[in-house]
């Protein structure tokens, strides 16, 4: 049994595919590639896979992570070549690495995520610059999402704006369970419709893995 972490790009072809569906997309990719996934025990055995952090619909990403457990002892290079032949358009596999079997679930060790927003050419930049400045100066920024009040401000770790064409916004948002900043919420706070911009996730910061696990490969 080995546990493998895939780093991949999620491109435009899959930008409207949500997290649950993406899980199925991967499951079928493994089947096509004949990579034998390990299954959970119980009445409804499920293939063992973890995804790091759901990507909101409509965005692309250069830092998607997926852990899988597999019964084969094939090398990472062999696995990668098999998977690349079977992967769905829209997924670009970057690297495969081994992870200690006992390492904590992937979704529990994500700390923050970086999003790059490219604004359309005809955008009025001055008010955006002003709003970015305002938002960074705020201490509290209460928002309403699906009927629930929450404070967006502490979820924003960094927020900068560049007017050089094409104009971009850089944001680093918290991405911990129960404390996840959503890029479209920040955009709406800045008065920008998330439907007219391109958003790419470019970085995921993981919490350090405890040493006893690290030594236990």
């Amino acid at each position: 049994m080995q546990r493998v972490r895939i780093h991949y790009f999620k491109g435009e072809a899959l930008q409207y595919i949500g997290n649950l569906d993406l899980h199925k997309v991967w499951e079928r990719t493994f089947r096509r590639a004949r990579v034998p996934l390990a299954y959970s025990q119980g009445f409804h055995p499920q293939p063992r896979m973890h995804q790091a952090c759901p990507l909101p619909l409509g965005f692309t990403s250069q830092v998607e992570l997926l852990d899988f457990w597999c019964d084969s002892e094939e090398s990472l290079a062999e696995l990668q070549s098999k998977l690349e032949k079977s992967v769905q358009p829209g997924i670009e596999i970057q690297t495969l690495t081994n992870v200690p079997l006992k390492s904590p679930p992937l979704q529990t060790i994500v700390e923050s995520a970086v999003y790059y927003v490219t604004l359309p050419e005809d955008c009025d930049l001055e008010p955006i610059q002003e709003k970015v400045n305002q938002l960074t100066r705020l201490e509290i920024c209460m928002r309403d999402r699906r009927g629930k009040q929450y404070d967006l401000r502490p979820l924003i770790k960094e927020l900068t704006f560049s007017a050089a064409q094409p104009a971009t916004i850089y944001m680093r948002l918290m991405a911990m369970p129960g404390a996840t900043g959503r890029p479209e919420e920040v955009l709406e706070e800045l008065g920008i419709s998330p439907f007219v911009v391109d958003v790419v996730r470019t970085e995921l910061t993981l919490l350090p893995v405890p040493e006893e696990v690290e030594n236990n490969v």
């Binding site: 595919i17 649950l20 569906d21 993406l22 409509g58």
Partner: protein
């Protein structure tokens, strides 16, 4: 009209605002994108319901793969948008487009609709309209695509005759090539639309309704259907393939969840049982089987190509597949331990079926489905599906004792001459079944009863019979609802108003084209969706056309009457249907025609087509 690039651009702004945008973006595994500018002949296949329902359709899967194997043709897919997307499309003047190239339907040479059932008709109109094309065949000109349609409902093409240029009657695997070749040469020769349609009508199995005139009697029935010129055949005989070709193995793998996420392999086509209500059993004759090897290879190949975890072995009567034991044991040995779900529906009610299913269950799941259809001997003899109650009970005992907790039974009410006693017998039988289950596994035992309402269908021995009335059907449903919804028992039933619509559309004549258009103009669409169906729109439309629904539904037809589909031949003779109808009225059953040929007419009518492939005389399968 917007071009492909403009459509893509607009989608970017629209898709984030609609539910399940993955429906409208394509990009699935196994989709085929050919070079638009390099390929001269372009066909769009349209399933007239949403993506989730259309993707698993086997007919579309077969045609998509078959057509895209032609180097000279490009074939893409479109589905009907759900209400939110339709609204967004209309607001943004976005035409209906194909998923592969984002190309507007109007840019294709041929548009092909599949018509598996009648309640999709208004969606077809909606699709043609969303494509920016004139609804009616007569209003389209040389610049418009040719619109064709096929599928089970097309065996009575008349109600949709105003909108479809040409129907393909019967099986499409070979006919589609004839149609495409014809349209290709018409394009090279720069033929007019009329000339193209004339050439299409010359292809066996093709029906161009514009070349046929219908007259009516004073009582509203059809008087005659005649070709407008002696060049056109009086009867259109359906197409069949003599030998089933290899099944599709490159199924579209959608990236979102759809109604069936599976590999479907048709193990056999046609049925010899002769149940008198069954449209599929009549129109799909003769029986043709695929070999075990062909089926197993197709499964292996499809698994490699799709990664699906579920396989369905389809046919109208799986127990009648002559090599069923060998097939099931080969499959269970070959694919054991791979966490697959393999389903084998349409099994006969006998303990043998339980043994088959037991071999296939890997990850045990769901229930076990059986279709007794009726519960008294009188009704079973009438519909020609004789099953002993004890046989059903013994099968149920086996199912519950071999690890299934739930059984689903399908019954039909509204058969001709049905009484309340016959309906009560359904309730009694169900109660007996659950009682057996409880004896074996206690309160874990559950029973789901599906009660549909009989619709007399064209081309069956019951095509002359009347539809049961709404008050009768409601009484019968209430009787069952009172008794079959207790702890451990569940019942589902069909809306009698939807049944009326289905009966009207499936046995109607071409005057219904006006009714369908009128209903659609007043908002009818997604009629197969319980929450979208609006009965009053249809009643108003029928009234507006001066056609009381009774002339199509509750009226028993005379044997001598010209039926609106009499010029369409399934290969089965009218004489055979009449004989079966009379036997039904006399309460007589008819044996399986594998035991004794009943001269249904299939062989003499289709002999040329059946011979074509292997050059020898066709012989129907006999009992093993």
């Amino acid at each position: 009209m917007l071009n492909r690039i403009e459509i893509k651009k607009k989608l970017k702004a629209i898709l984030p605002t609609v539910v399940k945008p993955g429906r409208y973006f394509g990009g699935e595994f196994n989709h085929v994108v050919k070079n638009w500018d390099e390929i001269g002949l372009r066909m769009a296949l349209v399933f007239p319901d949403i993506y989730d329902i259309g993707v698993p359709n086997l007919g579309i899967s077969i045609l998509y793969e078959t057509i895209n194997k032609r180097p000279d043709t490009l074939c893409e897919r479109a589905y009907v948008p759900w209400l939110d997307m339709e609204e967004a499309m209309r607001e943004n003047s976005l035409p209906l487009y194909t998923l592969e190239s984002c190309a507007p339907l109007a840019e294709f040479d041929v548009i092909g609709f599949t018509l598996p059932y009648e309640t999709l008709y208004t969606n077809v109109l909606n699709a043609i309209d969303l494509a920016g094309l004139p609804l009616r065949s007569a209003d389209r000109n040389d610049s418009h695509p040719i619109i064709i349609a096929g599928g089970h409902a097309a065996f009575n093409p008349e109600p949709m005759s105003a909108f479809i240029d040409a129907f393909v009657i019967g099986e499409g695997e070979e006919a589609i090539h004839d149609v495409l070749d014809c349209i290709k040469s018409a394009k090279t020769e720069n033929l007019s639309r009329l000339q193209t349609l004339e050439r299409l009508q010359a292809i066996p199995g093709i029906y161009v309704p514009a070349f046929y005139d219908v007259t009516y009697n004073e009582n509203g029935s059809v008087q005659s259907v005649e070709p407008t010129s002696p060049r056109f055949p009086k009867k259109i005989v359906k197409r069949v393939v003599g030998i089933l070709p290899d099944p599709p193995t490159h199924f579209i793998v959608p990236s979102i969840d759809v109604v069936h996420n599976r590999i479907a392999v048709e193990i056999m086509r046609g049925c010899t049982r002769g149940c008198r209500f069954c449209h599929a059993g009549m129109v799909n004759r003769p029986v043709r089987e695929r070999s075990v090897e062909q089926i197993v290879n197709a499964i292996e190949e499809s698994m490699k190509n799709t990664g699906y975890e579920e396989i369905a072995l389809l046919s109208l009567s799986s127990s009648d597949y002559t090599q069923i034991e060998e097939l099931v044991s080969t499959i269970s040995e070959k694919f054991a331990g791979r966490n697959l779900v393999i389903s084998l529906p349409s099994l006969r009610i006998e303990t043998f079926a339980v043994g088959l299913m037991e071999k296939l269950k890997g990850v045990r799941q769901g229930g076990f489905t059986l279709a007794p259809e009726a519960a008294t001997d009188r009704m079973r003899n009438l519909i020609n599906k004789p099953i002993q109650a004890e046989q059903l009970l013994e099968t149920a005992r086996q199912i519950y004792s071999r690890g299934w907790n739930s059984i689903k039974l399908y019954f039909m009410i509204g058969h001709p001459f049905e009484t309340m006693e016959d309906v009560q017998a359904i309730a009694d039988l169900c109660k007996q079944v659950i009682k057996e289950g409880r004896k074996i596994i206690g309160n874990k035992a559950s029973l789901h009863t599906g009660v549909s309402t009989f619709v007399p269908k064209s081309h069956t021995p019951f095509q002359w019979t009347a539809l049961d009335s709404i008050p009768n059907v409601l009484d019968k449903q209430n009787l069952l609802k009172d008794q079959l919804r207790t702890p451990g028992m569940k019942m589902t039933w069909s809306n009698p108003r939807e049944t009326i619509l289905e009966a009207t559309l499936s046995r109607g004549d071409r005057r219904l084209s006006n009714v369908i258009e009128d209903a659609w103009r007043h908002g009818a669409k997604f009629d197969a969706w319980m929450d979208q169906f609006n009965y009053n729109l249809w009643i108003d439309a029928l009234e507006g056309a001066g056609l009381p629904p009774e002339i199509y539904t509750s009226r028993e037809r005379e044997i001598s009457e010209v039926l609106p589909w009499d010029h369409i031949s399934t290969g089965i003779s009218r004489k055979y249907l009449e004989r079966e109808y009379k036997k039904a009225l006399a309460g007589e059953t008819t044996e399986d025609c594998r035991d004794q040929c009943l001269a249904c007419g299939i062989v003499p009518t289709l002999t040329d087509q059946l011979k074509e492939k292997d050059g020898v005389n066709w012989v129907c399968l006999e009992a093993a």
